[in-house]
């Protein structure tokens, strides 16, 4: 299969990944183990774009806001819209990154690293290495988190547990319900 065919056939993976990230971050599971790199916390904050395709054509909605629940966007999920891109905040230790993640190519847009110490005037190479390190650290963290999504997605539990938990969370969003931490939900089950 050619790469473009693969991209088209598996576009849903990127959309499901963004949904999974949002679900995890809102149900108290937005902390990911990065092995020897420690832990990363991740949440969606800012702009989110959702889209659906039906007989009426393509419908896109963009929600901007800092409210954790982003009600309108949650409502759109219940209306069969899927996430095309979302603003993601990533924190590792004291460092925080911000970027828009795109579901089709997993491109990073408006990527902002933590503030760098070196201003580059006296030591341009120092600035380069600091920036390169911060870019690679964020990419590596996102790749590990994506790997953990793929692990989850390929496991039998995806269909027996995760799918229904995400569906419940989507429905809660549509009715304006309060999101329960996943741990509490499991206890209720």
């Amino acid at each position: 299969m050619q790469l473009l065919d693969k991209v088209r056939k598996t576009e849903f993976l990127g959309r499901e990944f963004l949904l999974w990230l949002w679900f995890k971050s809102e149900t108290g599971e937005g902390i990911f183990d990065l092995g020897d790199k420690g832990k990363a916390e991740l949440w969606l904050d800012g702009k989110i774009t959702l889209q659906s395709e039906n007989e009426r054509g393509v419908e896109t909605i963009t929600c901007t806001g800092e409210a954790l629940n982003m009600k309108e966007a949650r409502f759109a999920l219940a209306g069969e819209k899927e996430i095309r891109q979302a603003t993601v905040k990533l924190a590792i230790g004291d460092n925080q990154w911000s970027f828009v993640l795109d579901s089709t190519w997993m491109n990073f847009r408006s990527f902002k690293t933590p503030r760098v110490i070196n201003d580059g005037k006296e030591d341009p190479d120092g600035l380069f290495y600091e920036k390169a390190f911060l870019i690679e650290e964020a990419i590596s963290a996102m790749d590990r988190i994506y790997a953990s999504f793929i692990g989850d997605r390929l496991s039998p539990e995806w269909l027996t547990e995760t799918r229904s938990a995400i569906a419940r969370w989507i429905r809660q969003g549509a009715t304006g319900g309060v999101t329960q931490p996943l741990s509490a939900e499991r206890e209720m089950d």
């Binding site: 056939k9 849903f12 990127g14 990073f108 580059g120 380069f128 997605r153 390929l154």
Partner: protein, 207 residues
């Protein structure tokens, strides 16, 4: 777009295969061959593209080995383009056509004649147009194979992939959710066919 200064948008790639033999020895020469060349003021070339120093877009000489910041190779792809504003082209064409009609006592100009006039006007204006320069940073980790390119436009990314192949004789594989998944499965020693069998999840009933 600046990976080093300010915020950036970028696309990721992985190099395919291993580094060619004597890679480091011929690196300077390969880069110099595809370095950026200024558009000649007298020429009618509309476009020029090539590598420049990532820390200084006006440096295309690479007098030292500024591109090598081990383990990285870092440069910017600079693209200069001369463009004529469409309204200016339209205005100058109309003036030229009116002048010819008056001189030759013609009421109408045939389509082919108007096309010739348009091309002549375009070439004349092109010499007066100041090129617009854009730079897109590239950071390549030669140990891991990860290439970060500071652009998300498909057209520019395609041009970058070609330029990378010409310069380094290495193909780039674009990263997407599928290829990332494959990399994970390879690492785990699992079958790549697992991804081929996947379909979209229906989260809500009746979907």
């Amino acid at each position: 777009m600046g990976l080093i200064h300010g915020s950036a948008s970028f696309t990721r790639y992985m190099t395919e295969g291993t580094l060619p033999q004597h890679f480091m020895e011929v690196l300077s020469e390969s880069i110099a061959r595809y370095a950026f060349r200024e558009l000649d003021e007298k020429s009618i070339d509309e476009r020029s593209a090539g590598w420049v120093n990532i820390m200084d877009m006006f440096d295309n000489r690479f007098a030292g080995i500024e591109f090598l910041k081990e383990p990285y190779v870092a440069m910017s792809l600079r693209i200069d383009e001369r463009k004529i504003p469409p309204t200016a082209l339209k205005q100058y064409c109309r003036e030229a056509e009116d002048r010819i009609k008056e001189e030759e006592h013609l009421e109408f100009l045939p389509k082919s004649r108007r096309a010739d006039i348009k091309e002549a006007v375009r070439l004349r204006l092109l010499k007066r147009a100041i090129p617009v320069a854009r730079v897109y940073d590239m950071i390549w980790n030669t140990v891991t194979g990860l290439v970060v390119f500071g652009c998300t436009s498909a057209r520019i990314c395609d041009e970058f992939m070609v330029r990378f192949l010409q310069t380094f004789n290495l193909q780039l594989q674009a990263i997407c959710p599928f290829t990332l998944g494959e990399l994970f499965l390879l690492k785990e020693g699992a079958s790549l066919n697992l991804l081929d069998g996947l379909g979209p999840t229906r989260f809500l009933e009746g979907q």
